[in-house]
């Protein structure tokens, strides 16, 4: 029925839109059901200094007394005209906050994503080729250990070792404290990026490593590798010509699919390292009931995850020609 490319694209777009709607409705409902009082969260410690009248004024200005459905409809109407609203805690348009924070997070997440992908694939191939040996066991155990370790805990351990005990890396922030973001040098920025990126890479390595290892083990036991061996192929030549591309398909698809997890991980890592990125803004928005900002972040995150999955699917087909047949 849905065989034409146009029909398939239309179906995909419909899925994207319906998923985005579900994400924002879900996020809004959770925020509406939250016991946190937005005004109190906004005012913070000065809550004793303001009277009930001022509270009323803030609540009215933010439209907090309107029924939730009405508030959501107003927000959705503005979004459809391209206006994402204004962040309550930063006092700036949501689009501006998103752009600022995303730029800071991009360096962190891109570094972690590339490092974990490359490192995970390389180590996975090594473990798979040397399956059953000490090398394989050490790498597999390491991967299982990291897969079960929470990101914030790994971050705290690294922070304790490298920043507190050894003093090699800064304790937090994206730039040295007392420096304006615009004044920091590239070296200083990289220095601050090092530990959060290392944390995210370390944790991100394990899924790619374990999946690649499995794919390599399967390829090594396959008929085509047996024939290649009988043809005189061996050692790393065998891996390079007959195994690598077999294992690359799953790794590529997986690495693009884990972009979503990277967002979740950066949220925790940025909190531990007080790195002012998107993750840290998400925590702030959630804890202080900044509904427009949180919905904006939810939409952007969902879009990035969807795009990541789509790109992974396309690249997976390029790497492994069989996948194209299965998908068609």
């Amino acid at each position: 029925m849905l065989t034409t490319p146009v029909a398939r694209t239309a179906l995909r777009l419909a899925r994207v839109v319906s998923l985005l709607v579900a994400v924002v409705v879900g996020s809004f409902w959770l925020m509406a059901a939250s016991p946190v009082d937005p005004v109190q969260a906004y005012v913070g410690a000065d809550v004793a200094a303001i009277g009930p009248e001022q509270r009323e004024q803030i609540a009215e200005r933010w439209g907090l007394d309107d029924p939730p459905l009405e508030r959501f409809a107003a927000w959705a109407g503005n979004v459809l005209t391209g206006d994402l609203g204004e962040s309550q805690i930063f006092g700036e348009p949501v689009a501006v906050v998103l752009a600022d924070r995303a730029a800071a997070s991009l360096a962190l997440m891109a570094t972690a994503w590339v490092l974990s992908g490359v490192l995970g694939f390389a180590l996975g191939v090594l473990a798979g080729v040397r399956a059953g040996t000490v090398v394989d066991r050490v790498l597999s155990w390491w991967a299982y250990l990291l897969a079960s370790a929470p990101t914030f805990w790994v971050g705290l351990l690294l922070l304790y070792l490298f920043s507190v005990s050894l003093g090699w890396t800064p304790v937090g922030g994206a730039v040295p404290s007392g420096t304006l973001p615009g004044e920091a040098t590239v070296g200083e920025r990289l220095h601050h990026l090092l530990l959060p990126a290392a944390t995210l890479s370390l944790v991100g390595v394990s899924p790619v490593l374990l999946h690649t290892r499995q794919a390599v083990v399967e390829a090594m036991a396959s008929d085509h590798v047996a024939f290649a061996r009988a043809q005189g192929e061996r050692g790393w030549g065998l891996v390079l010509h007959r195994v690598l591309r077999n294992a690359a398909g799953p790794a590529v698809v997986l690495q693009f699919a884990t972009i979503g997890e990277l967002f979740g991980g950066s949220l925790l890592a940025e909190q531990v390292f007080t790195y002012p990125g998107l993750g840290e803004a998400t925590t702030q928005a959630a804890l202080r009931q900044d509904v427009p900002l949180l919905l904006g972040i939810a939409m952007v995150t969902a879009l990035v995850v969807l795009v990541g999955n789509a790109v992974g699917r396309v690249l997976g087909r390029v790497v492994d020609p069989r996948a194209a047949v299965l998908a068609a």
């Binding site: 008929d223 043809q231 005189g232 192929e233 591309r245 020609p321 069989r322």
Partner: protein, 275 residues
């Protein structure tokens, strides 16, 4: 065929081949399982020798041992000679893909993620051909395949095309010994005849062919001699002509039982353990 005319002995000779696997039970207790417990055979130039036996009899391990591609946890002993020259593991691996080749049949022998052209070219490189690209193109067209086949992937080939591609790859080293391991599983009769006929032609062109199979009937149509193996040992060598009637000309009881197990040969259930 092999460049130098050596007269030091038969083309391929296997003597008292033994293959054992080292296993670890619960990680600690070491156990040695003998899978091949004494196999002998000779393959001369221009002949097809069938190695017949039930699944698990160790037939395929003999092929792997001759090619030097046994699994890492296998230990082998006994001698493998090529033109009378004994081959250690390193020498077997050096000859693999050149003098001694494996000829699988199924499309699963091809790498699903590489194009046909890339794989045939790689075979040419491994076989030490001077101009791999030309050699690969010639090998494909020489088997009646269109040059466009080189750009296809294995899943885009028919079974017959895949067999011809594999044949081109195996013949790249101009081998003197061809080992065909179970070349006809699940094929329809015409494809079986084509595959076996291909082996016969290789032998008629001067190569020695070792046909490893459990399908006795098909093997008898092309083989010159039949080696029978049972539970890791070669127990009998029989002439093709002796497989006739009720098998009374077959001397060894196991060989006779194999023949009689085929329909129409006076099948009687063998008594297990013997009395």
């Amino acid at each position: 065929m092999s460049g130098q005319e050596q007269s030091g002995g038969p083309l391929l000779q296997v003597e008292d081949l033994r293959v054992a696997f080292v296993q670890y039970e619960r990680g600690l207790r070491r156990r040695v399982v003998e899978a091949v417990r004494g196999m002998d055979l000779v393959v001369g130039a221009g002949e097809v020798v069938a190695l017949i036996g039930a699944s698990g009899a160790g037939k395929s391990l003999l092929g792997q041992a001759v090619l030097g591609v046994l699994p890492p946890n296998a230990v082998s002993s006994g001698s493998v000679r090529h033109h009378g020259r004994p081959l250690d593991d390193a020498a077997r691996r050096r000859l693999a893909g050149r003098e001694v080749v494996l000829l699988p049949q199924g499309v699963s022998a091809l790498d699903p993620t590489a194009s046909v052209g890339a794989q045939v070219r790689r075979s040419a490189v491994l076989a030490g051909r001077a101009a791999p690209r030309t050699a690969a193109a010639t090998a494909l067209t020489g088997r009646g395949l269109d040059p466009s086949v080189a750009r296809r992937y294995p899943h885009e080939l028919s079974g017959g095309m895949a067999r011809r591609v594999i044949g081109a790859m195996a013949a790249m080293g101009r081998p003197s010994v061809v080992i065909a391991d179970e070349p006809t599983p699940g094929l329809h009769p015409a494809a079986v005849a084509e595959a076996l006929g291909g082996l016969r032609r290789l032998a008629d062109d001067g190569a020695g062919v070792l046909l490893i199979t459990h399908e006795l009937r098909g093997a008898l149509t092309v083989a010159d001699r039949v080696m029978v193996c049972e539970r890791g040992r070669t127990v009998d060598e029989a002439a093709v002509a002796d497989f006739t009637g009720d098998g009374s000309r077959l001397v060894h009881p196991y060989t006779r039982a194999l023949w009689r197990a085929l329909p129409g040969h006076g099948f009687t259930a063998p008594t297990i353990g013997g009395r």
